[in-house]
Symmetry: C2
Subunit: 148 residues, 2 copies
DNA sequence: TTTCGATGGTTACAAATGAAACCAAGTTGG
DNA sequence: CCAACTTGGTTTCATTTGTAACCATCGAAA
């Protein structure tokens, strides 16, 4: 028979959320303290740094952001002159986004910090634990994609 | 030599966050659709259902919520008459929170749904994958506790 | 062509959040 | 005893977020 109480500390949705929250909060210091970026702004910068030129829609898909978040992040980065918009020739609804020199410089500065952050986090785990989190997360990602 | 670009899709903080976001969003339908609860309200209900009587501070610790979230969630549940506050005899700053019959009924109704949600999520994984996510998450939790 | 639905993106509004100030009640050290 | 500090909890204010409505453009079908 199943117990009628739920142990929150063991409940996977709660544990995942809390874990992500702590990690994300810690990591956010890197882009918040140095440049005062928000998470959507960081993700936008990161997406464009990684891919060169993207549309707002593509950014939203790549980094799992609602389009209003993308819109506002892009507006802010444009205000900072970290990115530019260029009208697409074939479809005038679309704008092609790309980092400016300044945006790229900020991105290049942050990439090593991000990698160091991840490395230091994983270094606290044993090799087996690292393998476990990697395959566990991958499995869950896959399971969730299928469903929806 | 390390690449100077960062692949967001492989970056652990991002993956964790997205995973938690999807899972949490999916799960939230259970308490949102049925009762119009927010996440802090659900966690408060869950904490009290699990522990019987708690203070607001204890709730915040157990469920990783900022005290303002707790305060607001408690106020709302009180408004619904799902919980009551009782003054602590020994320390008049403290209030002892407990679910009413109605609160407990809602809790009891939701527990099986929560468990079913978790079960169905995990059922999509193989036994090895389930073990992997369990030990990976536990290892990360531990690693993060130590540090701070 | 004109119309109609879908798509790219922005804006307006309401709700949720976090930080900091706050109030009250406790504790501690002189 | 009483000032200074801490703790439990609430409130205020600015920021962030999500939903929905919106505008413009596109593609397809009549």
């Amino acid at each position: 028979m199943e117990s009628e109480i739920l142990e929150l500390e063991s409940f996977l949705p709660y544990r995942l959320y809390r874990l992500a929250d702590v990690v994300s909060r810690e990591f956010s210091k890197i882009y918040r303290d140095r440049h005062g970026l928000t998470r959507p702004e960081w993700r936008t910068l990161s997406g464009l740094g990684q891919h060169g030129t993207m549309t707002a829609t593509a950014l939203g898909e790549q980094s799992a952001m609602h389009k209003t978040k993308v819109s506002r992040a892009v507006a802010e980065l444009e205000r900072r002159r970290w990115l530019t918009r260029t009208a697409d020739e074939h479809d005038r609804r679309v704008e092609r986004l790309a980092l400016t020199k300044a945006g790229l410089a900020a991105y290049r500065e942050m990439v090593p910090l991000a990698k160091a952050f991840e490395r230091e986090l994983l270094e606290r785990l044993s090799a087996e634990e690292r393998a476990a989190i990697a395959s566990g997360v991958a499995a869950l990602e896959e399971a969730l994609e299928e469903k929806s």
